[in-house]
Symmetry: C2
Subunit: 339 residues, 2 copies
DNA sequence: TTGAAAGCGATACCAT
DNA sequence: ATGGTATCGCTTTCAA
C-alpha cells in the first residue's frame, strides 16, 4: 500500500531504454525494432506495469470512457440497456461510467456536469427527463451525446428509440378490435418523451376509429409498480366505465393488475391490461401480460455503435435508429373480447 | 467542437490572478481573500469552466471514482445493488465505473485490470467468480477492495454479505417442518461462494434433522430463469421422489416452477419451491414464491460505506457486515404441508 | 531505430 | 494573501 506504483520510467530504466521507446512498444506505434519491443514487453509483464490512463488521457484528450445516464438502473428496462451497452463498449475498448438520475432532472443535470468534468469521450443519455431548452443548452458544451428514447434535439445528433407511437397504436388497435371502447392511459412521467409519443398513439388510434378523445382518461404515473397501482386505482375509481388500460410499461401494468384485484375488477373480463417492454416478469404474472416487446439489449448496443460513429466524426451524417416493438398477445388482453 | 476547452489558466488570465489562486478559490483551500474568491468564482461561472478531473487526479492521486464489478447487471439482484451503491457513492462525491463480468472469470479479471489502469480509488467486487488464489494474487496490486457475497480473502479487508447459510438453513427448517423429506438443491454457479454457503446450510439442516445427506440431489445451475428450468427438469426427471426444491435465487425458482408445470408436478402439492432474494417478481408469479428477502439496495450502500472507511485507512480495523435474510412464506412452500 | 524535451491541466510546496 | 516552480505519468514532436 505504501510502495509507489511502477510507472513508465521504471520500465524504461529497467529495460535500459527511454520512456518513449516503452510507449512505442506498448502502443504498437512508431518504428521500433522487434527485439527491443520483445524485451520491453517482457519487463512490462515482469513488473506488472499498467499505463496510467489519466496521464494518457490528459495528453491524448481521449479517456476511452463513455457516460451512461439512466433514470433508474434498478428498472429492468434500463438494466438491460446497460447490459447491452456495457458489452458493446467493452468490446470496443471503452469503459462505462454509470449515472443513476433517480428520475430527477436536477440529478440528471448533475450527472451530465460530472461526466463533463470526467472528460468522458461521449455520453449515452437514456430517456432524459430534462426539458428541451435545458437539454439543448447543455448539448453545446458536452462531448458527443447519443439519445435513447428521445427526439434528437438537433439534426446533428444520433438517437435510438423504440417506436412508441407505433407501439401504442398497435396496442390500441388490438384493444379496439377486441371490443374495448373506454381505454384509460397510464402515461408515465410527465417529462418522459416516450410517454408523450405513446399518448399520441393512443389519440391517433381513437381518431382512426372515429371514437371521441377523452383526455380525462389519460393520467401520468411514476414508472414503476406502485405508480401503476396508484394511477389505475385513481382512474378506475373515478371512471368506472373504463374497460381497458394501456400502461406506460410492464411494471406499471402489473401495478394496474393489482389495482384491479383490489377493486374487484376481473382481468381481462372487466378490464383489459396492456403493458410495454415485455420484461421477463410480463409472461409470469397472472394473468400473463399482453405487451409490446422491445429489444433493450440491442438498444444499448446500438447506442454504443452510434457513439463510436460519432466519435469518428459522423461520416455520412447522423442516424436516428428506430426499433419497432412487437405486440405480444397474452391473457391480460386477449384477441377475442371476453367481456 | 473545434474550440479548445477553457482551462484553469484561461480563468486565471481573465481574473488577473495566477492559476494557483483559481485553484484555491475552487477548492476552498489555503488563504484567499473573500473578494478575490468571489471574483474568480464569478468568472468560473461566466466561462463555464469545469476542472479537468484527469489532471487533478494525476497530481492528487485520487480520482473520486469507484469500480463496481457485477456478474450481470441485468440480474435484478445486482441492478438493485448497483442502485444502492450508485446513490451512496454519488452522495459521497464519487462516480461509479460499471463492469459487467458476464459470469465469466476471464472477463472479471479483465475488468479488474481495467479498473486498475483507470486508477479508481477503490473496487466494489460483487459475487466474484474468481478462484481464491487468483483473487488473492490480484488483491495485492489493486486499490482497496470491498467484497460482496464472498468470504474476505484476507482479514485486512471489508466485506458485506447476505448470510446465505443462515438463509438456507431457515428455508430448510421450514421445508422439513412442513413435511418435506427429499429436498433438491439448485446450487447456482459452481464458482459462486454464496452457492457454496447455501449448500452448507442445506447440509446442516439435514444433519440437524437426522436425515441422510444425498449429494446427488445437489446440482449447479446458471443463475437465471433458464438455468432453473434446466436444473429442475434434470433433477425431477432423475429423482422423481423429490418433494421440494431450494433454489439459488428467485429467477432460478421461477424456472423451477416452469419445469414443474412442464413435468405435470403441482406446486406446492407435489413439489414445494423456495427461492432466494425476494425480487419484485417473487410475489407476482403463480404460485407466489416463498423466498428469503435480502435488502440489496442496503447491501450496495454498505459496500460504499465500508469503502469510504477503507479509503480513510480502516481506522478500527475491518468490518465484515452480514445481512440476515428474512424468510417470506408464500404459496409455493406454505407452512402446513399440502402434500 | 531511438532519445531529448515540451506539454497536457491541474495541485503542492515554498517563497514573497 | 498571492505567485513561481516543480511535478503527476504519459504521448507527441523533432532531432539525431
Amino acid at each position: 500500500m505504501n510502495t509507489r506504483r511502477v510507472n513508465i520510467s521504471d520500465v524504461a530504466r529497467e529495460a535500459g531504454v527511454s520512456s518513449q521507446t516503452v510507449s512505442r512498444a506498448l502502443n504498437n506505434k512508431g518504428e521500433i525494432s522487434v527485439e527491443t519491443r520483445q524485451r520491453v514487453l517482457e519487463i512490462v509483464r515482469r513488473l506488472g506495469y499498467r499505463p496510467n490512463t489519466l496521464a494518457r488521457g490528459l495528453v491524448t484528450q481521449k479517456t476511452c470512457t463513455l457516460g451512461l445516464v439512466v433514470p433508474d438502473i434498478a428498472n429492468p428496462f434500463f438494466s438491460e440497456v446497460a447490459r447491452g451497452a456495457e458489452d458493446a463498449a467493452h468490446f470496443a475498448g471503452y469503459s462505462l461510467l454509470l449515472c443513476n438520475a433517480m428520475e430527477d432532472p436536477e440529478r440528471e443535470m448533475e450527472a451530465l456536469r460530472t461526466l463533463e468534468a470526467q472528460r468522458v469521450d461521449g455520453i449515452l443519455l437514456c430517456s432524459s427527463r430534462l426539458a428541451a431548452p435545458k437539454l439543448e443548452a447543455l448539448l453545446g458544451r458536452l462531448p458527443p451525446v447519443v439519445l435513447a428514447n428521445r427526439e434528437p434535439a438537433s439534426e446533428a445528433m444520433h438517437s435510438v428509440s423504440i417506436d412508441d407511437e407505433f407501439g401504442a397504436l398497435a396496442a390500441m388497435r388490438h384493444l379496439l378490435r377486441s371490443g374495448r371502447r373506454q381505454v384509460g392511459l397510464l402515461a408515465g412521467p410527465p417529462a418522459s418523451s416516450s410517454g408523450a409519443r405513446r399518448t399520441a398513439g393512443h389519440r391517433a388510434a381513437l381518431a382512426e376509429a372515429g371514437l371521441p378523445a377523452r383526455p380525462e382518461l389519460i393520467v401520468p404515473c411514476a414508472p414503476h409498480l406502485e405508480g401503476g397501482v396508484e394511477g389505475a386505482t385513481a382512474l378506475l375509481t373515478r371512471y368506472p366505465e373504463i374497460d381497458a388500460l394501456l400502461c406506460y410499461n410492464d411494471l406499471v401494468a402489473v401495478g394496474a393488475l393489482q389495482a384491479c384485484a383490489g377493486l374487484d375488477r376481473r382481468v381481462p373480463e372487466d378490464v383489459a391490461v396492456v403493458g410495454f417492454d415485455d420484461i421477463p416478469l410480463a409472461a409470469l404474472v397472472t394473468p400473463p401480460l399482453t405487451t409490446l416487446r422491445s429489444d433493450r439489449r440491442m438498444l444499448g448496443a446500438e447506442l454504443v455503435r452510434l457513439m463510436l460513429q460519432a466519435l469518428e466524426g459522423c461520416p455520412g451524417g447522423c442516424e436516428n435508429v428506430v426499433l419497432k416493438p412487437e405486440l405480444i398477445v397474452r391473457a391480460s388482453a386477449p384477441s377475442a373480447s371476453a367481456a
